[in-house]
């Protein structure tokens, strides 16, 4: 008797081509960072570092959670992703607990300072012009709020409120050049 012809197993659906993996970013190694700050700059950083130090005995340490704030207070504007990268991708629960001292802070700050493409006034204005439907120098406040809260590195509702407070005119429109000047001046 001829063996029953086994049904050919249906060919497995062709596996989806894998999403192109983002180029794997090398882990941040603070030892590899060459410090190029001047002595004056380092004194300035130390001054500000002490302001953020909330240890009860002034041990010159800050939490991981404060690191981003300090870098930004000193004039840089990294994304949250960039900050987490230089901190070695800590877990969420570590942020309030793990500390770093001033020596550990310096290479982190140096790395951020060296990064290119910080964004100028024009970049910022261009970024907002994307939402300028009528090309008249204004954007709809409501649309901007929606974007900031849902896209990119999302902001919380009260953060959006703080940002936009007093910026919209009677029609709910924002003159974005003035808006950018306001943000950059603060």
């Amino acid at each position: 008797m001829a063996p029953k012809k086994k049904e050919e197993p249906k060919p497995a659906p062709a596996p989806k081509p894998p999403e192109p993996e983002p180029p794997k970013e090398p882990e941040f190694n603070p030892a590899e960072v060459k410090l190029e700050f001047t002595a004056e700059q380092i004194e300035d950083f130390k001054d500000a570092f002490q302001l953020f130090d909330r240890t009860p005995t002034n041990e010159m340490k800050i939490t991981y959670a404060q690191c981003g704030d300090l870098i930004r207070a000193l004039g840089q504007n990294p994304t949250n992703a960039e900050v987490m990268h230089v901190l070695g991708k800590p877990k969420a629960e570590e942020m309030q607990v793990k500390m770093l001292d001033f020596e550990q802070f310096l290479p982190i700050h140096q790395h951020i300072c060296k990064a290119k493409d910080r964004g100028t006034f024009e970049d910022f204005v261009e970024g907002l012009r994307v939402f300028d439907k009528e090309g008249n120098g204004t954007v709809m406040g409501a649309e901007l709020r929606h974007v900031l809260a849902t896209l990119g590195e999302k902001m919380k509702e009260d953060e959006v409120e703080q940002l936009m407070a007093g910026q919209e005119d009677a029609n709910g429109c924002i003159n974005y050049e003035a808006f950018v000047k306001h943000i950059m001046a603060g």
Binding site: E40, D47, L51, D69, Q76, L128, L151, E153, K154
Partner: protein
């Protein structure tokens, strides 16, 4: 929309890019704002503590005088006035009955439409008071005197330490410093209800000074005290003291609001304040005092002291009585994180007490918690010493609009604290965070600039030591070092530098630029700049001294008293002033040429103005 799919995808990508860019910039903006908020807070706190250090200066002056009393020119009236004024107890020849009658006989005009109190007080009275004060009315002097008199009678029978218990369902509410902020008290009553048998309260001292409605606050608190003696409790704070009131504004407020009866009120208040209990204990487990504790405190001993004799003036004269030290510790101490107990140099009295001191005291008396006030906290409250110490502070916006929240704490029978925060908002239009930070920062920087101005000669001398070639510039490090050592304020000077001084073309600090914004207000009496600076720096001390000399609070002292006082004070400070200069100065400020000086006018002459603020006002 008529876009192709690829256009929409592109738009979406651009949107994300734009969003990330904006978010990055926003986060930088917020971090910068946070930094400004932090240093603003640091500035306010350092200046406040430094001001209390100045109190030390005053105390050393008094002891200087005491030491030199016997050597001084017997004809000199100045020192005699001061010492006798200070040490004389306010002897009132009236007996209690006569005094009570006198107050009853004060006539209140028909035209007065404020509350008319009747004793013993009822809820109608307290409600009337609250409504009246909300409407910015003033209680007639007669009723204030009667209220103070009844309060004094009541407090006389209270012990030094009050023992309370939480019955089955009752929660006790504990409030901290109010410092004359009526809005905060009204907000607390609004949120938490008025004091009553079901709603007991403890107010932990510092009801007066600094704020502008201290009189209204004590009227309300004393009224509720008389109305609900078992459910309303007041602890004494370090500001419930005559000397503090002279310096920090309560005396002035009373004299301004009550021109006829103010003096008598102040006398009564001295007694009332000194009779306030020192501590409260709940369920034999929770100790509540205004300042803190020390390693010398013993509650059993404290129960026995004669608290009405514990006055700051005796501290100022270094009249050391053992029990006085313990009372000062209760009213002035602050907790610290390190172990041990050290003298509180900032305040000039009391201790810094560590967690081991807390632990020891709580254990000694079988307690589990210490609640205290005395220090402003950003969130209105703070825990320390492993949760064994709670600081509760109830004056929101203490330094400036937006500087901090106020809070109160509630304790039920399980003695688990629940905290409630609030913040008074002065403007009807709600300020954004950015606006609040700007306002507070402006105020802090102005206060800091005044400090710089007050120490101009010392600062310039130190700057010039670094500036050997006389270029007018020194490095940022040198500038920061000088300022920190002269002003003795631990602040982030390098971060603050851009707001205080200009850089030259070579990147160094043009040190004279930090005095540019300030100039004297009124044309000052003809004195040398050095003398003017000294007078400006010690304005507050002089104000206190003059107020002591001016026993009847008329605002005037004689030229002779002025001369003697100024001579004494300046010799103590080591400022060389010759007799002729003092005479000239005294005569020039005798505006009415009647041999007496209105010292408030004199002190006004040494105020300063901030030129930038004037410019803004002119442009605005």
């Amino acid at each position: 929309r008529g876009c192709s799919r690829s256009t929409r995808v592109l738009f979406h990508e651009y949107s994300i890019k734009a969003a990330i860019l904006i978010q990055r910039w926003y986060r930088r903006y917020v971090a910068h704002l946070e930094m400004r908020r932090r240093y603003t807070w640091n500035i306010f706190q350092s200046i406040e503590y430094a001001g209390e250090q100045d109190q030390l200066q005053l105390s050393s002056f008094f002891s200087f005088m005491l030491d030199n009393f016997t050597h001084m020119n017997g004809n000199g009236p100045g020192n005699k006035y001061l010492i006798s004024h200070l040490l004389d107890s306010v002897v009132d020849p009236l007996t209690e009955e006569v005094r009570q009658l006198k107050y009853e006989q004060i006539v209140v005009p028909e035209s007065y439409c404020g509350p008319r109190l009747s004793f013993p007080l009822s809820v109608t009275d307290t409600n009337a008071l609250l409504s009246a004060f909300k409407e910015e009315q003033t209680l007639h002097g007669k009723y204030v005197l009667q209220l103070l008199y009844e309060t004094k009678k009541f407090l006389k029978q209270m012990p030094n330490i009050i023992y309370l218990s939480t019955s089955y369902a009752k929660e006790i509410t504990i409030c901290g410093d109010l410092h004359g902020r009526l809005d905060d008290l009204l907000l607390i009553f609004y949120k938490n209800g008025l004091p009553s048998a079901e709603n007991p309260y403890i107010f932990n001292g510092d009801f007066v000074d600094r704020g502008k409605k201290s009189t209204e606050i004590i009227i309300i608190l004393f009224a509720f005290l008389l109305l609900y003696p078992d459910h309303m409790h007041l602890n004494r704070g370090n500001h419930e003291d005559h000397i503090m009131n002279l310096r920090y504004g309560f005396t002035r407020e009373v004299m301004q609001k009550y021109k006829t009866h103010g003096r008598e009120m102040l006398q009564l208040l001295q007694d009332v304040f000194s009779l306030l209990p020192l501590a409260t204990v709940i369920d034999n487990k929770v100790l509540i005092v205004h300042g803190g504790i020390s390693d010398k405190i013993d509650l059993d001993f404290l129960s026995t002291v004669e608290r009405h004799k514990m006055l700051l003036k005796y501290v100022l004269f270094h009249m050391v009585i053992i029990c006085l030290i313990q009372v000062v510790d209760i009213l002035w101490s602050d907790p610290k994180n390190q172990s041990g107990c050290s003298p509180n140099s900032f305040r000039g009295g009391g201790c810094y007490f560590g967690p081991d001191v807390t632990q020891a005291l709580l254990q000694k008396h079988g307690l589990c918690l210490l609640i205290r006030s005395h220090e402003c906290k950003q969130e209105g409250y703070e825990l320390c010493h492993n949760g064994q110490v709670i600081t509760i502070f109830s004056a929101s916006n203490y330094y400036e609009e937006g500087s901090n929240r106020g809070a109160y704490v509630k304790l039920g029978p399980e003695l688990v604290p629940r905290f409630f925060q609030y913040q008074v908002s002065r403007s009807t239009r709600k300020l954004t965070l950015h606006q609040r930070v700007c306002v507070a920062e402006g105020s802090a920087l102005r206060a800091l600039k005044e400090k710089l101005y007050a120490h101009r000669s010392d600062l310039m001398a130190a700057f010039q030591q670094y500036d050997i070639d006389n270029t007018g510039r020194i490095s940022t490090s040198e500038w920061a070092q000088v300022v920190e050592s002269v002003l003795r304020l631990d602040l982030p000077w390098r971060t603050l530098r851009p707001r205080l001084a200009r850089l030259g073309a070579d990147g160094n600090v043009e040190y004279e630029s930090c005095f540019e914004d300030i100039s004297p207000g009124e044309p000052i009496p003809p004195v040398t700049p050095n003398l003017a600076e000294t007078l400006y720096r010690y304005r507050t001390d002089l104000e206190i001294i003059f107020n002591i000399i001016d026993k009847d609070h008329s605002g005037q002292i004689s030229i002779e008293e002025f001369r003697q006082t100024w001579k004494l004070f300046s010799s103590h400070l080591g400022v060389a002033v010759n007799d002729q200069t003092i005479d000239d100065m005294a005569r020039s400020i005798d505006f009415n040429k009647d041999g007496s000086i209105d010292f408030n006018e004199f002190l006004e002459a040494f105020r300063v103005v901030h030129k930038l603020v004037i410019k803004e006002q002119q442009q605005g």
